[in-house]
Each structure stands twice: as structure tokens, then as C-alpha cells.
């Protein structure tokens, strides 16, 4: 099994406040890894260290994160984020841009302006995000005038357009209704053939449904990381068991 991301002894801080404590785990290529745990356990902070968005809000880290063996804490964050894309909790399409331009944004603002080159990419990404059929006739409409579930799939298409290797998803379905949630989950399943996906979720059924591996975080520590099946049926740690059984959190 090929390792895509390897996290070694990672500590993360907000100012002097330590929020992640000595995290080490290996994320296999083309698999879906779910991060679960109660609020405030450091799930979001963890995935935000993986594309260095953590430092955007004034955080800092110690330790190593290897992406294909290369320490990403020492690379240029702008280049890194093209390889490690992110989908946020609340859909955040660019309100001043059309649906087309929302998808093309990452490419256009990095210098690809040729519409002939952009059109097939936009179409491909919207199809991948299972949104094409719903928007193909109004690509010039505002990206903010579609439903929340469509907006989130638009954001996924936008992330795919820069052709990342890893996609981080921070509770991508928590603001959506059950039908949109199902669509996003189906999508995650489709996407893992080409991408490595790390998804933070509050919803344990979702973790069980979509992921191959699950990491349980508690109070800034990685309590257990194993195959999802094992985490949900016979976890080796008592805390993990209590959490997945719904006894706390």
C-alpha cells in the first residue's frame, strides 16, 4: 500500500495554546480517511495543517508532514495548495463569478486564460462533481444563486479543476440536507479512484459509509487510527469504543 501523506510527531499551536499533540499517522494513496471526534478535538486544525491553511489564521506547527516523501512544511504554501485542495464546511462559491468562472477560478487566477483550454476542464470537473446536468444550461449564472447542495458540489468542482492529488474536506455535508448529503457521499466514493481524500465529519454513520480508514481524535490527540471497519466494530481503545457507541461527545 502506497503512502500519500505521512504525518510525524505533529504538534499544532494557536499562539501558545497547543491544540494538537504529537500526531503520527500514514494516509494511504487513493483511499478515503475519515477524521472523527467530539467538537474541539482538533479535527479541523489537523486537516488545515495538511494544506497549511492553519498558518493563515495565525497558527504554527512543529513536526513533519511528508507528501510523497517531501516535507510540505518546507515547501511554498501556494504550490502546495494546488496539490492539496480543500472543500469547506459552508459552501463558499465566489459570488461575483459565474458558475463557469467559479470552476475556472483556480486556473484563471494562476494564468490560464484561454477559454478553449478552460471549457473542457470546466465541463469535466462539473461532471465529476455530478453537477453538470443541473447547470449546463446556465453556466453564466452567478455561482451564488444555486442551492446550497449545488453550491457545495460547485466548490468540489472548483477544487478538482486545479487537479490536486489530495482533497481535504472539512465537514462538507454538515450544512446540507439528506439528499444533498447522499450526493456528496456518492461523489466521495467516485473520487477516491483518482484522489486521496481526507474528510472531517461529525456524523459517524457518514464516516462508516464513506471511509476506508478512520482516525479518532480526542482532546488534541490521535487516540486510534485503523481500518474503518475495525474502528466501528472492534476498536482496540476504550475511548474510541465509547465514542463510536455514542456514550460521549
Amino acid at each position: 500500500m502506497e503512502i500519500k501523506l505521512s504525518v510525524k510527531n505533529l504538534d499544532a499551536y494557536y499562539g501558545k495554546n497547543k491544540v494538537l499533540n504529537n500526531i503520527s499517522l500514514d494516509i494511504p494513496k487513493n483511499k478515503v480517511v475519515a477524521i472523527i471526534g467530539p467538537s474541539g478535538c482538533g479535527k479541523s486544525t489537523f486537516i488545515r495543517t495538511l494544506n497549511r491553511m492553519h498558518e493563515v489564521v495565525g497558527g504554527s506547527i512543529k513536526g513533519e508532514i511528508l507528501l510523497d516523501g517531501e516535507d510540505l512544511t518546507k515547501t511554498d504554501p501556494v504550490l502546495l495548495r494546488k496539490r492539496v485542495g480543500m472543500v469547506f464546511q459552508k459552501p463558499n462559491p465566489f459570488p461575483t463569478m459565474s458558475i463557469f468562472n467559479n470552476v475556472a477560478a483556480g486556473l484563471r487566477l494562476n494564468g490560464v486564460r484561454n477559454k478553449k483550454k478552460l471549457t473542457p476542464i470546466v465541463e469535466k470537473c462539473l461532471k465529476q462533481a455530478a453537477l453538470w446536468d443541473e447547470v449546463k444550461n446556465n453556466l453564466d449564472d452567478s455561482g451564488a444563486n444555486i442551492s446550497g447542495g449545488q453550491q457545495q458540489r460547485l466548490c468540489i468542482a472548483r477544487t478538482l479543476a486545479v487537479d490536486p492529488e489530495v482533497i481535504l474536506m472539512d465537514e462538507p455535508a454538515s450544512a446540507l440536507d439528506p439528499i444533498s448529503t447522499t450526493k456528496i457521499e456518492d461523489l466521495i466514493f467516485e473520487l477516491k479512484t483518482n484522489y486521496t481524500i481526507i474528510i472531517v465529519t461529525h456524523n459517524m454513520q457518514q464516516a462508516a459509509r464513506v471511509s476506508d480508514y478512520t482516525a479518532f481524535f480526542y482532546l488534541g490527540k490521535l487516540i486510534e487510527f485503523d481500518e474503518t471497519n475495525k474502528i466501528f466494530t472492534s476498536p482496540s481503545n476504550k475511548q474510541t469504543e465509547d465514542y463510536v457507541r455514542g456514550r460521549f461527545g
Binding site: 494544506n51 491553511m53 493563515v56 501556494v78 504550490l79 502546495l80 495548495r81 494546488k82 485542495g85 480543500m86 469547506f88 459552508k90 463558499n92 462559491p93 465566489f94 459570488p95 461575483t96 459565474s98 477560478a105 483556480g106 487566477l109 494562476n110 449564472d141 452567478s142 451564488a144 444563486n145 466548490c155 472548483r158 477544487t159 486545479v162
Partner: protein, 288 residues
């Protein structure tokens, strides 16, 4: 039980009464706020409309006693002055505002913010004196450029603060969305943040321009005024406000009348400007 019910009814009516009294008070205040505006429009229109004809826009001022004439030079002069002012005030203001909101959470930003607030409180005539000392004295004569610089300085605080406020209104999630796509920070700021805040910034710019167009004091000893046609920014230039000032205090009846017309034209000019801005910044999409 009955007693408490009575009580609650008593409080219910009391609450209703207080609510309607306060509501009426705010309504009266709102009315009082628009009364001066109504008077301004009433007087400028009723008194100014007499001389409002094509000549006023295309003809030059006539000597005293000669009827008719216009203020073509002053209209063009005002446009040139706010053009120069805008060329200075808009870029400086917008960029300063962008700096303050995106990078200004430090001591320097605090200082800049404080100084812009101070600048917005400086009387416009003082800014005129400064422009006089810095531009008119070294050039040894009055000029449009000196007037434009004074107006530009006056625009800066308004534009800076509105830009900063408008950019701060752009949700943080859009910044993160841009950065997470691997778009460099400067480009995210320019193509996403400023683009989203553009409408609000334009309102600030318009406020700045309108304020500048209405200024008289800083022009008196910078642009001075000019009875003749001039578009040379190195020379004194006419402006509507200075004409209003000169004509309104003159002893001649038809000059007084023309001052009203100039005032009306100034208001129209600002309205047209405002309309133009609305059209330019009109969003491509319906907002929901």
C-alpha cells in the same frame, strides 16, 4: 389569578403604548431629517431653473449687466478639478483601505487608521492652506493642479475608511477559498476580495468625489477661479463652487440668480455621477 391576569393586561397596554410613542418619535425624527433636504431642492430648483438652459452649459460668463451667458468654463473646471482629485484620492484611498483591512493589524496600521481619522476631521480650508504652501508658493501662481491636490487629500479619508470597512465585510471564507485553490494572496485580494467589495468601495469613492465637488474653501487660494476658458491644469481654473460663492455675494440680481443655477447644476452633476457609478458597478447577477 385574576389579579395577575389584570396585571399582565395592564403591562400589555403599557408596552403597546410605549412602543407606539417611540415609533412616532422615530418617524418625526426621520421627517425632520429630510426637511432640510426638501428645502434645499425646493430653493435650488425654483430659483435656479430660471437660467437653466443650454446656454448655461455651453456659453461663457457675460460681464455684469449683460444678460444671459453660462458657466461652461466652471462646469469643465469642476470636472477637471475632481478628475485630478480622484486621480490622487482614489488610488491612494483604495490601496490604503486595502492595506488596512488585509495587512493592517499592527502598530503601523493602527497609526494609519488614527491619522486618516484625524485627516477626515481637518477643516477643508486648512487643507487648502497646505496645498497653497506646498504647490502654489513654489509654482508662484494659482493652478488647477493645486486645487486638484487639495481635493484629492480631502477624498483620501472617506475612500480609505469605506474601502477598509467594505473589504472587512467580505466573508473570511472567500479568502480561504481563494488561498486553498493555490491562488497567491495578492491575487486573491485583488481578484476575489476587491472584486466582491467593489460595489461598496465605489460608493465610498462616489462620496469622496461628491464631497470634493462641493468644496469651495480649499479652492479659493489654490485653483482660484478663472473668468475665461481654460483647461490648462498649470493655470488657475474656474469651478462651480467658487462661482456660486462669488456670484451669491455679488450685488447684482442676475448674478445672484445664476449662483442658484450653478448650485442646481452642481447637484445635477453629482446626481449624474452617482447614476453613472450605479450603472458601472451594477452587478451582472441578481442578488438574492
Amino acid at each position: 389569578m385574576e389579579n395577575s391576569l389584570m396585571n399582565s393586561k395592564y403591562f400589555y397596554y403599557k408596552r403597546k403604548l410605549t412602543s407606539s410613542i417611540m415609533m412616532s418619535l422615530t418617524f418625526v425624527a426621520a421627517l425632520a431629517a429630510i426637511i432640510p433636504l426638501v428645502f434645499i431642492f425646493y430653493y435650488t430648483i425654483s430659483k435656479g431653473v430660471t437660467y437653466l438652459n443650454l446656454d448655461f452649459f455651453i456659453a461663457m460668463p457675460k460681464p455684469v449687466g449683460e444678460p444671459g451667458g453660462g458657466m461652461a468654463n466652471a462646469i469643465v473646471g469642476t470636472l477637471i478639478l475632481i478628475g485630478i482629485g480622484g486621480a490622487i484620492g482614489i488610488p491612494v484611498g483604495v490601496m490604503t483601505g486595502t492595506y488596512l483591512s488585509e495587512f493592517g493589524n499592527n502598530k503601523f496600521g493602527f497609526m494609519v487608521r488614527f491619522l486618516t481619522d484625524v485627516l477626515s476631521g481637518v477643516p477643508s480650508i486648512v487643507v487648502g492652506v497646505v496645498a497653497y504652501t506646498m504647490v502654489v508658493l513654489p509654482m508662484k501662481h494659482f493652478s488647477a493642479i493645486a486645487g486638484g491636490i487639495a481635493l484629492g487629500i480631502l477624498m483620501i479619508p472617506t475612500i480609505t475608511r469605506t474601502t477598509e470597512e467594505m473589504i472587512r465585510l467580505v466573508p473570511h471564507s472567500l479568502r480561504e477559498a481563494g488561498l486553498a485553490l493555490g491562488i497567491p494572496k495578492w491575487k486573491t485580494t485583488l481578484a476575489i476580495i476587491l472584486r466582491t467589495a467593489w460595489k461598496g468601495i465605489a460608493t465610498g469613492v462616489l462620496l469622496g468625489l461628491s464631497r470634493a465637488a462641493g468644496e469651495t474653501a480649499p479652492l479659493l487660494f489654490t485653483a482660484l477661479g478663472n473668468r475665461f476658458w481654460s483647461t490648462n491644469i498649470g493655470q488657475p481654473i474656474a469651478s462651480l463652487t467658487v462661482y456660486i460663492y462669488d456670484y451669491a455675494k455679488s450685488p447684482f440680481e442676475d448674478w445672484n440668480q445664476q449662483a442658484w443655477t450653478a448650485a442646481l447644476v452642481l447637484i445635477l452633476l453629482i446626481s449624474v455621477l452617482s447614476l453613472l457609478f450605479r450603472i458601472i458597478t451594477r452587478s451582472k447577477y441578481k442578488t438574492n
